[in-house]
């Protein structure tokens, strides 16, 4: 099981957001768009690669995964559910 802090650490390191601390990213704040973290479409691709490399979870379909990418919390729930089903 991973925590939202684990994910935030990987996001900060992987997307080069060195100026941010994990406590500055809310669990429920949007990852994309103009509010919240403000990531863009290239960051989304990078994020899928980070998740595969760091947690071994593949995200294959953006349509099905749209809600998964909403916030750090939804993303962690998805990663944990995938890890659980792979056991």
């Amino acid at each position: 099981m991973i925590t939202t802090d684990d994910l935030k650490e990987k996001i900060i390191a992987g997307l080069g957001l060195e100026d941010m601390g994990i406590d500055e990213i809310e669990d429920d704040s949007p990852l994309f768009g103009e509010d919240g973290l403000g990531l863009d479409s290239v960051d989304a691709i990078e994020l899928t690669l980070i998740i595969e490399k760091e947690f071994g979870v593949k995200i294959k379909d953006m349509g099905e995964s749209e809600n998964v990418f909403s916030t750090p919390k939804t993303l962690v729930e998805f990663i944990n559910s995938q890890l659980e089903s792979d056991k």
């Binding site: 997307l15 080069g16 060195e18 100026d19 941010m20 500055e24 994309f32 768009g33 103009e34 403000g38 990531l39 863009d40 479409s41 290239v42 960051d43 989304a44 691709i45 990078e46 899928t48 690669l49 595969e52 593949k58 995200i59 294959k60 379909d61 953006m62 349509g63 995964s65």
Partner: protein
């Protein structure tokens, strides 16, 4: 030719849409305009500063006789430059591109790029229109999804170097030799081009182009030398590429004023000309960054930051990291009474550029040095 909406799994007709919001709507609209000779202003409406700038212009001058589309790109001075293109510019360019594809046969185009820039419109929409093959697209692609599409025989993929790098990283064990990739916005790094061919047994043709000039040259996989497209005449002035071709704009809109373009068009690309049809790209004028495929003037960003309270002077240098998908990072040197905070800057940039996350690193506590004529040339740490 039909448009296939991969998100909603249905075909979509071309039609005039007043305020297209999605990628599919934008594609449907620009193709309708193209088919019916309707002029339109094509730009990224998710960038608040650009929307504000265009709205501030005298709207009458946006409509010029004989023009098909007006695009906006970042000018070197910091203000957006409007670039008018004719239908003939696009058609001749598509014909020149198709010549370089030889006798390959395609039955559809899959495009990951949006239709708010010239690359998406001219290559992602006009090329399949001329080939009379379907265009498949969706709002957002993941690398895994693109591989699945590329596995289907006869697919021409219109994408960006970001996806080539991403596909190299996921290393799928598939043979994509029945498909072919086109990228633009920047050349694929040599190692990435080589690795892509080795992993997937297919090639990526890298289009070297700009909004003003249209296509200039191309190279395949790990080649280093760019070959010009048919009809493109090149030379250089002060080491920077100049181009004449039937694809070059005839009119630009600079600071609210229409200017006729007299060939050859002077680019900001530093090149070595090897022959009349071959050149090597050595670099780009240091004041233009390409971030997520969008050209942004560092002077524009310097101006935005210098307008902030307590900031006296800013110098931006572009750093490259070829391993990253976003391979250009801005090193921002700030002379100010109080340090510039990254969160404040991120918020300010978002207000100007919308949902585009610009990679940067701030260096506070510096004094910007200037030349005798006032040009910012470097910095000293305090």
């Amino acid at each position: 030719m039909k448009i296939y909406d991969m998100d909603n799994k249905c075909y979509v007709n071309t039609k005039e849409i007043k305020n297209p919001k999605t990628k599919i709507e934008q594609l449907s609209h620009v193709l309708y305009c193209f088919e019916n000779d309707i002029f339109d202003v094509v730009y990224d409406k998710s960038q608040p500063a650009l929307v504000k700038y265009i709205n501030s212009l005298n709207q009458d001058i946006l409509y010029q006789d004989g023009m098909q589309f007006l695009y906006f790109t970042s000018g070197t001075t910091g203000l957006p430059t409007g670039v008018f293109k004719t239908k003939e510019n696009s058609i001749k360019q598509a014909e020149a591109l198709l010549k370089t594809l030889g006798d390959r046969k395609f039955n559809r185009v899959v495009t990951t790029v949006p239709f708010v820039h010239i690359y998406g419109v001219d290559i992602g929409a006009v090329v399949p229109k001329l080939l009379d093959i379907d265009i498949w697209t969706k709002e957002n692609f993941l690398p895994e999804e693109l591989v699945l599409e590329a596995e289907k025989e006869g697919t021409l993929i219109v994408t960006t170097p970001v996806f080539i790098k991403a596909l190299n990283r996921i290393k799928k064990d598939v043979n994509l030799s029945g498909s072919y990739f086109l990228t633009s916005t920047a050349p694929v790094p040599k190692d990435d081009g080589k690795k892509f061919f080795e992993l997937y047994n297919t090639s990526v043709s890298q289009l070297f182009a700009s909004t003003e000039t249209g296509l200039m040259g191309h190279k395949i996989d790990d080649e280093e030398i760019l070959k010009t497209y048919d009809g493109v005449v090149i030379d250089e002035k002060y080491g920077m590429l100049r181009v004449s071709s039937p694809f070059v704009t005839q009119k630009i809109l600079n600071d609210g004023v229409i200017e006729e373009v007299k060939p050859p068009f002077q680019t900001e690309d530093i090149v070595e000309i090897l022959s009349e049809s071959e050149f090597k790209l050595l670099g780009r004028s240091s004041n233009l960054a390409k971030i997520a495929g969008k050209r942004i003037s560092t002077q524009q960003i310097e101006g935005i930051i210098e307008a902030m309270d307590e900031v006296e002077c800013v110098l931006i240098k572009i750093r490259r990291d070829e391993r990253a998908l976003k391979d250009e990072i801005l090193d921002i040197y700030v002379e100010s009474k109080i340090g510039l905070d990254a969160k404040v800057l991120r918020k300010t940039l978002k207000e100007h550029f919308g949902a585009m996350n610009i990679a940067f690193k701030i260096f506070n506590n510096v004094k910007i040095t200037r030349s005798s004529v006032g040009k910012k040339i470097g910095f000293k740490e305090l």
